[in-house]
Amino acid sequence: MKANSTEDIQVSSTQKYNQSPFTLARKRFLKNKLALAGIVVLVIFILAALFAPLLTEHDPTKGDLMLIEKPPSADHILGTDGSGRDNFARLIYGARISLTVGFSAMLFTLIIGVVTGAVAGYYGGKVDNMIMRAADLVLALPFLVLALTIIAILEKVTVGIFVTVIAITAWPTLTRIVRGTFLSLREQEFILGARAIGANDLRIIFKHFIPNAIGPIIVNATLLMATMIIVESGLSFIGMGIPQPTPTWGNMISEAQNIRILRDHPEAWIPPGLAILLTVLAINFIGDGLRDAFDPKSNRR
């Protein structure tokens, strides 16, 4: 990260041309210390998740019934849980699930949201009306209750199902943002200019609308990912998320529903709680950094 930023500054001092709006946004972003800290934290978690097998030799899903609720030791540095599984292994393998769920739910929501929002904002009229009424309908449904119902009906919940359920209930927020941005862009002369040279719809959407709407889209996608991680943890905590024995931060904390563990084994639930807190905080800082980078006029302190 550091090397990258110094390189940028060198390039800009020798070559004053080609300051594309994206280059400028990247520079502003790299000046934001909180956002950079967020990136560092997130990268650490991602690396831990990727190299989990190298960091621990314990299997996060297999328990040893001889080692139930053991306090930290040299072998099990965060002790073991109620089924004798290694807490540290569960923590870093849990990062895989939590980050995957957060990222893929965000990506899925992003695709639905951008496509529906773009179509609604670009074409307007009846299509717009249909999409926005559908969005209103989904927004009117209580998200948590809907998610709980679907999960309860399906019984066996996999990561794929879980992500889908979250995405099909969370897209309207993004649709509204994208549509709003498109509507305001539609009135700008450069869009008319693109029509005047004979550009087709696809080109106008991808070359003229999306690059100018990318700021709000990226910012909201980032913040969405943080929300998704919290949603996953929350649902897993009440036992309606990814089922055991798959490790997630949420169902690690759910162990602490047991008063004995809550009181006597803080090493079992504080680390996953901290992991959630740090990840969400890091992502939110990145999101704020991106917002300032893409829209320097807003909110300058």
């Binding site: 080609n18 594309s20 709006p21 008319l192 200019g193 005047a196």
Partner: protein, 332 residues
């Protein structure tokens, strides 16, 4: 330029017949159409090869709408538009696409009319990419040619619009409009957002390019002095209608319509020559095109309005060679 006019007079580049553009006014809970905003109301005009037709009018007179309807950026409510011999009025977007190489537009707002996320090279090459099958190298070469033609440097193509001033951005717009070698260009107030000193530069550039490339301009402006500089003929618009159309020198020397006279007397002059002429001052604002006055649209502000103006809509009729005016004072 006059020679060109005489030789090609029979085939105007653009021939607009009785064009109308009404915008529905929606109201009420169910968004019913409760009225019509007559932005362009029955306009006919033709423009010859190599000619510049100036269109002047206050804001709200429908001049920009007219330009957009001609380029089919808006659909006409009624009337026909002939480009050379082709009737482009009812063409579908895909049918009309090839014509866009020949009919281009320069926009008013130098800040809003360029996509700020694209470099100058991308902006200038885009029309070629959309309209032609030239290779990347050929497009680049052509872009450099036109960037230099409008008075920018070839290196500038690596920059982005935010690195340029308003006048330079307008030059980029012009390069973008001209790169496909169009014959006809609608200039929608191309200099009204610029400083006076820059205005003259850009106008001269447009004039030079017209001579070099044999362009035909429809030049929209709200300022008669700008139009005087560049136009062969001038049409004055008021509330969606042409009230007077004449060759530039004639319009400036013998304006026939009271509105034209008022506009002319409002041009500030440095010489005292005009001081003895009575200045006509217009009262109030242009009426809403959603609810235009009966009879002559100008009668509410006309110092010579009489009974007939209230009842009868005047029509455009000749008062001299190539000079037409729509006013009851001149027609009995």
């Amino acid at each position: 330029m006059t020679i060109k006019n005489e030789t090609k007079e029979e085939t105007p580049v653009l021939n607009v017949r009785n064009i109308k553009k009404y915008f529905p006014i929606k109201g009420g809970v169910f968004k019913r159409t409760v009225g019509q905003l007559k932005a362009v109301d029955d306009i006919s005009l033709s423009i010859n090869q190599g000619e510049t037709l100036g269109i002047v009018g206050e804001s709200g007179s429908g001049k920009s709408t007219l330009g957009r309807v001609i380029l089919k950026l808006l659909d006409a409510t009624e009337g026909t538009i002939l480009y050379k011999d082709a009737n482009i009025t009812s063409m579908k977007r895909n049918q009309f696409r090839p014509y866009r190489r020949n009919m281009q537009m320069v926009f008013q707002d130098p800040f809003g009319s360029l996509n700020s996320k694209m470099s100058v090279a991308e902006l200038v090459e885009e029309p070629l990419l959309v309209q032609t099958s030239l290779s990347k190298k050929e497009r680049q070469a052509k872009a450099i040619e036109f960037i230099e033609k409008v008075g920018l440097r070839a290196e500038d193509r690596l920059k982005y619009p935010h690195e340029f001033s308003g006048g330079q951005r307008q030059r980029i717009s012009i390069a973008r409009a001209l790169i496909t070698n169009p014959e006809f260009v609608v200039c929608d107030e191309p200099v009204s957002a610029l400083d006076i000193s820059i205005q003259a530069q850009v106008l001269n550039l447009m004039k030079d390019l017209q001579e070099e490339l044999g362009l035909t301009y429809l030049f929209i402006a709200h300022d008669l002095s700008v139009v005087k500089h560049i136009s062969d003929r001038v049409a004055v618009m008021y509330l969606g209608k042409i009230v007077e159309i004449a060759p530039t020198s004639k319009l400036f020397q013998e304006p026939a319509h009271p509105y034209t006279q008022a506009l002319l007397s409002s041009i500030p002059t440095l010489t005292k020559k005009k001081a003895d002429e009575p200045a006509i001052k217009l009262k109030g604002d242009i009426p809403s095109p959603a609810n235009p006055p009966s009879g002559c649209a100008f009668r509410t502000r006309c110092p010579f309005a009489h009974e007939r103006c209230e009842k009868e809509v005047p029509s455009l009729a000749a008062v001299g060679t190539e000079h037409e005016v729509s006013c009851h004072l001149h027609h009995d």
